[in-house]
């Protein structure tokens, strides 16, 4: 198919050369003009026709066709009238043959035609079923056998009356993917033997990631079960991505028996298997470096603030005690804690020495407070009055109409809370230091909003919406626009916690059968929530802008791309084919060896299959120099525009390091993988040219993510290659292999893709 593209290009070139032969265009200027005209006019952005108009016109045309066909039918009856005026015997004999043919000989089977709910829809919801409707009863087993979806998915099929087929993917579709459902002509067999004219091909796509940009909250990609827990009261991520739950017991999948502590709650790490970190704990807080866990533990009439290693194994170290009924602690840095100590708000180091007091802060009798990240502000309820303190100036302001406990944005500058007004609840955002509060979202009457949680990037707020008769469900809103939606229809949910990179929310779902911790993978935009990966995320943003301009095309695309270039940089803009693509993946953003602030971003641009033409892709590697939060393109390496091969494809890759000498790659695939092919045999990791042994590979089917971990590494450059025998569930091998190079071990924060 790639050959077809180049053949067409050669044909166009040959024809232009024929129009402008050297004899008549000796300096080649007209030919150059012709080439540019062609490029300019074919890249002009012409809006797609409105689907409604297109479908309406089609229906009108077919209706007229049918009307014309039926209007022609009465001609046959005129034969009778001819008979009436008298025919010769020969004519009578011929008429007899015609009549016999019409009345006795069977007419040919009616051609199979199918209509699909998703046909040509580029924004199908990830949880939508693919419903097909045939114009006649089909041989169901034959259709089932001939059914293929690319990228490959594991699906179940359900028939209704041999004409309606519902195809349900086992796991939800992946956002921003062009799918094609195919049923071979032979397999699409009707019960009377009819077949379609050609293979049935139903293209459709899921909404691209750009649709989930900052202005719109992310959507659900996949759900996975993390653990079964009893009596959960808190759920949170440590900065390194470790998921912690405060519960009476925890059982991770595959573990023989639950970790538990009799008669008391404890903090469990939900790494597999679940591990008890702190028995009898309350209000746990992991340290910023994820090395320690602070929590409160009952000790006689008071409560002690203790610290244990988050990795487990160490003895608790008592830092302070408090007579408050509901004391809280918050890390100031890796060696200092802020806590409610009976007399008020105090700071102490891990040796228990009080290092600071905040006399102007009045806490309520419970000792409860909520500190803003960076300790710029603090929320407390002295005398039951909701109050926000500016810890820098000592000033305070009182909040009115607030329901529940507010939350601070990750930068500490904003405060979000639920307010009640006119009998309806709303999410309100205000500056932490005052300023007019702004209602971002107002819930329908009767719907309660609780448990707000800022995303790590601060663009979104997750919340729990409780509707009478429905239960509590997870929603999210975008602060910039106020756009909101329910992320999932699952009810009975509570305790939402964003993952550190902002690409997932974990929560507790409680039903009659107990409680379980679930993780919702989200379609977050590239880099949107990459907390701590600032420069890599900036590079990713710059490269994504380049790719988005290539997808958008239009008159200003090349000019705008020019604006992304660093001074003196030159990239082959004439090969960028603006307007030729339908979607892109910003796969990874990793440090580049070309400079201290340079990053390499892997991009893949795709053109969806249309009109019998196959899907095509173009690989690009952008080198981006980052200064502050601004990135500039310094170089771009382009692959060849090629027909997209079948088989699984990596559409996102993140790297992180959770401990010295370790590296973790998380690869997101667009297809369901064949689990038998997932393993070390498909993965090669080399450091400084030498193969790394002991690489661990796991695969989470529901999110289509492969996790590759290696430890005991040195400091040399790493190259990860994922190739055959890795295959999708249709046994199609990955091709070409995916490769990712790192000049050195990544920093601890994920460098997102």
């Amino acid at each position: 198919m790639a050959e077809r593209f180049w053949r067409r290009r050669r044909r166009v070139e040959d024809e232009l050369a024929a129009v402008f032969p050297e004899s008549q265009d000796p300096d080649g200027r007209l030919l150059a003009t012709a080439r540019e005209l062609r490029q300019l006019l074919t890249s002009v952005e012409i809006g797609e026709a409105e689907p409604h108009y297109r479908d309406h016109l089609r229906a009108s045309l077919l209706a007229e066709h049918r009307a014309r066909s039926s209007a022609r039918t009465p001609r046959r009856h005129r034969v009778g009238s001819l008979f009436g005026v008298g025919l010769g015997l020969a004519g009578l004999a011929m008429l007899g043959v015609v009549l016999i043919s019409v009345l006795v000989l069977p007419s040919g089977p009616r051609q199979v035609v199918v209509q699909a709910s998703v046909q040509n829809n580029p924004r199908v919801a990830v949880n939508q079923a693919i419903d097909l409707s045939f114009n006649q009863p089909m041989v169901e087993s034959s259709v089932d056998q001939g059914l293929r979806i690319q990228p490959a998915l594991t699906v179940s099929t359900a028939w209704q009356g041999a004409t309606r087929l519902s195809i349900r993917p086992r796991h939800q579709l992946v956002p921003n993917v062009a799918y094609e459902v195919t049923i071979s002509r032979k397999a699409a067999r009707a019960q009377d033997g009819a077949t379609p004219l050609s293979n049935i091909v139903i293209p459709f796509g899921t909404a691209p990631l750009s649709a989930t940009a900052v202005g719109y909250p992310p959507s659900l990609v996949a759900v996975s079960q993390v653990a079964t827990v009893q009596q959960p009261t808190a759920l949170q991520y440590a900065p390194d991505g470790q998921l912690l739950v405060l519960a009476a017991s925890a059982l991770t999948p595959g573990a023989a028996s639950p970790a538990s502590v009799p008669g008391a709650a404890g903090v469990y790490s939900l790494s597999s298997p679940a591990a008890l970190l702190a028995p009898g704990a309350a209000a746990p807080q992991p340290s910023p470096d994820s090395q320690q866990l602070a929590y409160w533990s009952a000790a006689g009439s008071s409560t002690e603030l203790e610290v244990v290693p988050l990795g487990g194994g160490g003895q608790p170290q008592v830092v302070a005690s408090s007579p408050d009924s509901d004391p809280v602690a918050s890390w100031v840095n890796d060696s200092t804690l802020l806590y409610s100590g009976g007399q008020g708000l105090l700071e102490a180091n891990l040796d228990g020495q009080v290092t600071a007091v905040y006399p102007f802060v009045k806490l309520g009798p419970s000792g409860f407070f909520e500190a803003a990240p960076g300790l710029t502000a603090l929320y407390a309820q002295p005398g039951g009055i909701p109050t926000v303190y500016d810890l820098g100036t000592g000033s305070s302001l009182q909040l009115t109409g607030i329901q529940g406990v507010p939350v601070f944005s990750p930068d500490g500058a904003q405060l979000a809370y639920v307010a009640l007004s006119g009998g309806r609840e709303s999410v309100v955002v205000a500056s932490s230091t005052g300023g007019a509060p702004r209602a971002v979202v107002v819930a329908p009457a009767g719907v309660a909003l609780t448990q707000l949680a800022f995303s790590p990037g601060g663009q979104y707020i997750a919340y729990v919406a409780t509707t009478p008769g429905v239960g509590s469900q997870l929603g999210a809103l975008a602060l910039a626009t106020g756009a909101s939606h329910l992320i999932s229809s699952l009810s009975g949910v509570s305790l939402p916690a964003w993952s550190p990179e902002g690409t997932a929310i974990s929560l507790v779902q409680t039903t009659g059968g107990g409680s379980q911790v679930l993780t919702f993978q989200l379609s977050a935009p590239p880099g949107a929530g990459a907390a701590g990966a600032g420069a890599a995320a900036s590079a990713l943003d710059t490269a994504s802008t380049l790719a988005q301009l290539q997808v958008s095309g239009g008159q200003g695309a090349l000019t705008a791309i020019q604006g992304l270039l660093a001074p003196g940089a030159a990239i082959p803009t004439s090969s960028l084919l603006p307007g030729h693509f339908d979607r892109f993946y910003a796969i990874s953003s990793t440090a580049s060896s070309s400079g201290p602030n340079a990053y390499q971003v892997q991009l893949e641009l795709l053109r969806d299959p249309t009109g019998g033409l196959p899907a095509q892709y173009l690989d690009e590697t952008a080198t981006v120099s980052v200064a502050g939060t601004t990135g500039e393109l310094t170089a771009l390496t382009l692959g060849q525009l090629t027909a997209l091969p079948p088989g699984p494809m990596v559409i996102s890759a993140t790297t992180s390091s959770t401990a010295p000498g370790s590296v973790t790659f998380v690869l997101q695939f667009d297809a369901d993988l064949d689990p038998a092919t997932v393993g070390a045999q498909s993965v090669q990791l080399t450091q400084s040219g030498t193969q790394v042994s002991g690489v661990r590979v796991s695969y989470q089917a529901s999110s289509r993510q492969m996790v590759i971990t290696a430890t005991g590494l040195g400091s040399g450059p790493l190259v990860l290659t994922v190739g055959a025998p890795l295959a999708d569930v249709d046994h199609t091998l990955i091709s070409p292999p995916y490769e990712l190079s790192l000049p050195a071990l990544p920093t601890s924060a994920p460098t997102a893709g």
Binding site: R11, V12, E15, A18, V19, F20, Q24, G28, R29, L30, A32, T33, A34, R35, E36, L37, R38, L40, L41, T42, V44, I46, G47, E48, A49, E50, Y53, R54, L57, R58, S60, L61, L62, E64, H65, R66, R68, S69, Q111, V113, N135, L197, S198, Q555, G556, L558, T559, A560, Q562, G563, T573, S574, T610, G611, G612
Partner: protein, 193 residues
């Protein structure tokens, strides 16, 4: 390619009787015909009207359609070209429709220093609209739609050689006019300031 044409011929033959087959032809060619019409009229409403006209004319004339060895799309383009020409003839100021084309970013740097000539889309559309009708049709089908010279000839009812000449002359005229316009713009009198 031959097998593709043969398959299309069979589909067209069936479409004369079978509405669903006509629907398949519609699905195949609607995007490119709509795109072509929209690129010429620059108005969604007019583009929809003309595209509807093209397909209804095709449906009504399908019984008389006979394959000439060219793609079915050539016939549809032929109908579209005539419909667009009729549309502009019915307008007092056909060039008005080009005014809606947005200008590229003012003062933006050159996109690619290696190309022979700097063009902007608006300039090109304006100048193409000024070309004689036959040159205009040949130019848009060649550069805008990437059609083969033979296909354009089929659409316009001309020989391949005649189309070559139209494209050659149209390009030469266009280049001359664009260069002249650019020279004026770069002279002190023509500069913006």
């Amino acid at each position: 390619m031959t097998s593709g044409l043969e398959e299309e011929e069979r589909l067209v033959a069936r479409a004369k009787e079978d509405p669903e087959c006509f629907g398949a032809l519609y699905d195949r060619y609607f995007p490119q015909i709509y795109r072509y019409v929209a690129s010429r009229v620059r108005s969604r409403e007019v583009a929809e009207d003309i595209t509807s006209e093209v397909f209804f004319k095709a449906l009504r004339g399908l019984a008389r359609y006979q394959s000439t060895g060219h793609p079915f799309s050539s016939w549809l383009y032929q109908i579209a070209v005539n419909a667009i020409t009729d549309h502009y003839r019915s307008q007092r100021h056909p060039e008005d429709s080009l005014d809606e084309v947005p200008d590229p970013v003012d003062g933006a740097p050159a996109v690619d220093e290696e190309v022979a000539l700097r063009l902007s889309v608006q300039e090109v559309w304006t100048e193409i609209a000024e070309l004689p009708e036959q040159q205009r049709i040949a130019m848009t089908l060649k550069y805008g739609e990437d059609l083969k010279l033979a296909e354009i000839g089929q659409i316009m009812g001309k020989s391949e050689g005649a189309v070559k000449l139209l494209v050659f002359r149209g390009t030469a005229t266009l280049r001359q006019r664009l260069l002249a316009g650019r020279a004026t713009a770069q002279s002190p009198e023509g500069a913006d300031g």
